[in-house]
Symmetry: C2
Subunit: 237 residues, 2 copies
DNA sequence: ATTGCGGTTTCTGTATACACAAGAGTGATC
DNA sequence: GATCACTCTTGTGTATACAGAAACCGCAAT
């Protein structure tokens, strides 16, 4: 999703409004601008190095993305993420991903998923290689998502999925990753991929349902843990 | 998503950008601005009576809504609606509505749906009353959607649903309504409402699935018919 | 007749200036 | 001492001016 910047490797003179949008968006998703942060037009325009006009356009897009909310009269602020909103996001995510994967399995074009299958088979070994292994694993996830988007061939659905993934990226930063969970997730992904290759929409849908259920449990548990430990050892990190 | 504006029901002096957004949006959804229509900033700003700055903000929001696409260098244009895109929209709609109704049935708060149930029971009689009856039927549909949104209690899901409904409104204008279909649809809605009241998510989901399947078939058939008749009697309407 | 080139024109993208509204701070009055 | 009002500051909403780029038109040359 935020690889979009990397994809246009050309240093084409980006519009100021686009620059502002990407920077703010990146800073919000990466957590650099914490939820609840109040943002003033002049202040941000100055910081980013654009004038207020393109900045306002950028903010309008961020509001549409749901990353920012306008405040009555006085600037705008970064939307915050409550535990409730995580569950809610997963309710939407489940609807979208189950449908996407069901469609991908129905389309019956296994080719793009065969290579991914091999990669996910060896994922456990990858996850033994520490931090860089984990990073490469996430690249794999990105590739799976891209293959899925391509297979679905539905701009509406893919657009909605992309919006969800943006919010998901914010949530991921809230909780440290659990290595055991990553292994289990890899296995779940493998099952989903196999179902797509086999052209079994029902199996793929159910597998996705379960995968997301486990994923949500894991995220909520990780957040609980984090908030508990940060309560006891406040300055730990 | 764009409920922020609806919430201030007061006739407070609307911002120019908001006025421009609503007017353009209304004109696009109502078909007054046909798909493919090219729009120029200065031209539109003049027509609506705002300056270019708020107009650009309005257009940015319309682009985010998917109602408008920017063109390389030369203004923007109203997105068009292909038959393919209708099926695609329904793939998304199905995912969202099935999930929404499943959740509404799970929440188990039948109160708001009891009155709606009565209304839908008498819907067939309503549909005998000609045009104003049909109009009142559509008001009923709106109320059902509102009750559903409230029951779902999920901003993400409701937001996505609202976006879909916007596009749906455009599609509806493409095909004349079939009275027989409306009667059948009313019965389908009744079944869904009953399932929600009974707190049976699975039944509600399946009923919705079928309802949307029939709805899509009807829309596609109506469009086929229209385009066929307009081919033979070109200037008929 | 067609194609290439240059001038012109129009339109976008951006900056900035101005007006108005909301809040905070201060002073005066009760 | 507290409260209210006024002003001053700050920030948004809008208009407009300016610059750069892209399309259009005409002209000419092959």
């Amino acid at each position: 999703m935020y690889t979009e910047t990397a994809m246009l490797g050309l240093d084409a003179p980006l519009r100021a409004s686009e620059r502002a949008y990407r920077q703010l968006r990146g800073e919000i998703v990466s957590g650099l601008l914490a939820p609840g942060t109040a943002l003033l037009e002049v202040e941000q325009a100055e910081r980013i190095g654009v004038s207020r006009t393109p900045l306002r356009e950028a903010v309008a897009r961020l509001i549409a993305d749901g990353l920012v909310v306008g405040r009555r009269g006085r600037g705008f602020e970064v939307t915050d993420i409550s535990v409730d909103s995580i569950s809610e996001l997963y309710e939407l995510r489940q609807a979208l991903e189950v449908q996407a994967i069901r469609l991908a399995a129905t389309r019956r074009d296994p080719a793009p998923f065969l290579a991914l299958r091999d990669a996910f088979v060896t994922a456990p070994e990858l996850l033994d290689q520490g931090d860089i292994g984990v990073r490469r694993y996430y690249v794999l996830i990105d590739e799976l998502e891209d293959a899925l988007d391509a297979a679905v061939e539905n701009p509406f659905l893919v657009g909605a999925l992309r919006a969800v993934r943006t919010h998901l990226a914010r949530i991921r930063r809230l909780a440290r990753r659990n290595p055991l969970r990553l292994r289990a997730a890899a296995a779940e992904h493998l099952l989903i991929i196999d179902a797509i290759i086999a052209g079994d929409p029902s199996l793929a849908a159910h597998a996705t349902h379960i995968h997301l259920h486990q994923s949500l449990l894991s995220v909520l548990a990780a957040i609980d843990e984090d908030s508990a430990s940060s309560r006891s050892t406040t300055a730990a990190d």
